[in-house]
């Protein structure tokens, strides 16, 4: 019985605290969700990269949405920052027709042209998440804006919204389409826009999780800080979570609160972005 009470307290108390916790920050367009101090159950039993465990946080404020092109443009305009993809011409982009897990090398792609110049810019997509940036670019933004990336644990606490399940609504994938911009096609040989978007969608186009966070699953993978138990010693790979518009149930179904991806820190993909946490 005490376990049951603990569960209910863990599940509902943060929701009540949240009611007073959603707020805006001076100088930033994002809204932030306050996650209350407490102990949270994370991971899944027996899962090596994310074992079942209880984690304590002193509380933090995490952006309700992914960082937008408009936000990133302010940073670039203020600093003249040049991203990895612009310098190294090594961005990887997507067009329908590619085999699973294949991306196209495009030297013209960077955050203003996330899938290359011939596939259009972001002029009418300033409210979409910024993509085709590397982890290093995300850190540069954070340093400028006085914010930081969430840790792997913080991201999971916020995405779960108190739920112990694979998704914040349970273990079944079915409700996903109400909450996430993901790929619905069987493969990536044909374009898929059945949810209205083939690539990114404007942030907060889908329903939020119970704590008011949008696009925690789908839209773009979100860079986080932290290491996995399976990271090799000395490895410099970084991690991102939540799945993306590219992800389908057949290929990379990482649009959940359990799976954690790995990517090189200099990699720039049009399905990789981030959300921030207040320092």
């Amino acid at each position: 019985m005490s376990g049951f009470l603990t569960y209910c307290l863990q599940r509902f108390t943060p929701v009540l605290l949240l009611l007073a916790g959603v707020n805006a920050v001076n100088g930033q367009s994002q809204r932030f969700v306050h996650v209350a101090a407490g102990d949270y159950s994370l991971g899944r039993k027996g899962y090596i990269n994310n074992p079942l465990r209880t984690v304590h946080t002193n509380g933090f404020d995490i952006a309700a949405t992914e960082l937008t092109n408009a936000d990133f443009e302010k940073f670039v305009q203020a600093t003249g920052y040049v991203t990895d993809a612009e310098r190294r011409k090594n961005a990887l982009v997507f067009i329908p027709g590619l085999r699973e897990f294949r991306w196209l090398e495009d030297s013209t792609a960077f955050w203003r042209y996330p899938n290359g110049i011939t596939r259009g810019g972001i002029a009418d997509k300033m409210d979409h998440p910024v993509t085709t940036i590397s982890y290093r670019d995300a850190i540069a933004y954070c340093d400028w804006a006085g914010v930081r990336l969430p840790t792997l644990d913080e991201w999971e606490i916020a995405s779960r919204a108190g739920a112990p399940t694979t998704y914040f609504w349970g273990n079944e994938m079915t409700p996903l389409s109400s909450y996430a911009n993901v790929w619905k096609g069987r493969d990536h040989l044909q374009a898929d826009s059945t949810d209205g978007y083939m690539y990114t969608s404007p942030v907060a186009s889908f329903k939020p999780n119970p704590w008011g966070m949008y696009d925690v699953y789908g839209n773009v993978f979100e860079y986080c800080e932290g290491r996995l138990p399976t990271d090799k010693a000395g490895s410099r790979v970084v991690h991102a979570r939540g799945g993306s518009w590219w992800c389908s149930k057949n290929a990379c179904s990482f649009f959940n609160s359990v799976d954690i991806g790995s990517v090189k820190r200099g990699a720039s993909f049009s399905n990789l972005g981030f959300r921030v946490v207040k320092k």
């Binding site: 090596i48 090594n90 290093r136 399940t165």
Partner: protein, 244 residues
């Protein structure tokens, strides 16, 4: 009304608890983990290895990016050295979700997709084009190196898929039958049948389970004698339809 809300909240909690129980996971056994390591291992070709390794060492940003060797260095490599380079170094970054998490009972399954062994990197256009343009040489080198090292690494199997090396089907079966240890060789046979749209395979139950509408990158069939025999028979039948 308050009573109804309370009951609803309790039922909601119980429902979630039931779902949680449905997501039970077990840690992979030691034999499963050992097999996972085995199937991810690459075969390192011996051809000009020291020189190729030295040139790879010159590639900038190697720790943070999967980057190509400079064109000048690349063009200076012989065909055999280029083969070695491609088999040990992938030139572009893999996307974030490409790395698969550890799998339970990996040693008791025949997967629809092979382990790739390269983690955060994939072959570039230049690398794939080389393999396809030189597919006869690539197949010969794979055979030579496999016979020498007594195993066919994850990179060789991936290369065979890239070049659609269906001519190697009898050889793949021969390598498999040497110790029947590497079930990804059976997966390789199935991928060759799938990629060439061999109808008897595509109409099979195995195909539906491994590559059908609900399949994903961890879909598998059980490893047992019947499945093993069936895959080998189908691949042999397929080979007999295409050999000249």
């Amino acid at each position: 009304m308050k009573y109804l809300m309370f009951v609803t909240a309790i039922l909601g909690c119980l429902h979630l608890s039931a779902q949680e129980q449905g997501a039970e996971w077990r840690a992979p056994s030691n034999s499963s983990k050992a097999y996972g390591t085995y199937r991810n291992k690459l075969t390192v070709p011996p051809y000009g290895l020291a020189r190729v390794t030295a040139l790879i060492g010159k590639i900038p940003y190697a720790e943070d990016d999967s980057s190509p060797m400079s064109n000048k260095d690349y063009m200076s490599l012989s065909l055999r050295e280029k083969f070695t380079y491609h088999m040990i170094h992938m030139e572009i970054n893999a996307q974030n979700c490409d790395v698969r998490p550890p799998i339970q009972d990996e040693d008791k399954k025949i997967f629809g997709m092979m382990a790739d062994g390269f983690s955060e990197s994939v072959w570039s256009d230049r690398q794939v084009k080389f393999m396809i343009s030189n597919r006869d040489s690539v197949m010969a080198l794979i055979k030579e190196s496999t016979d020498r090292s007594k195993r066919m690494g994850a990179n060789y199997k991936m290369a065979i898929v890239e070049i659609n090396g269906r001519e190697l089907i009898p050889y793949i079966i021969e390598v498999y039958n040497r110790d029947k240890k590497d079930r990804d060789l059976l997966t390789l046979l199935m991928l060759l049948m799938k990629n060439n749209e061999y109808r008897p395979f595509m109409e099979s139950q195995s195909f539906r389970k491994l590559y059908g509408a609900d399949a994903n990158y961890q879909s598998y069939i059980d490893y047992n004698k019947a499945n093993e025999d069936l895959i080998i028979k189908r691949a042999t039948d397929y080979y007999n339809t295409v050999r000249k």
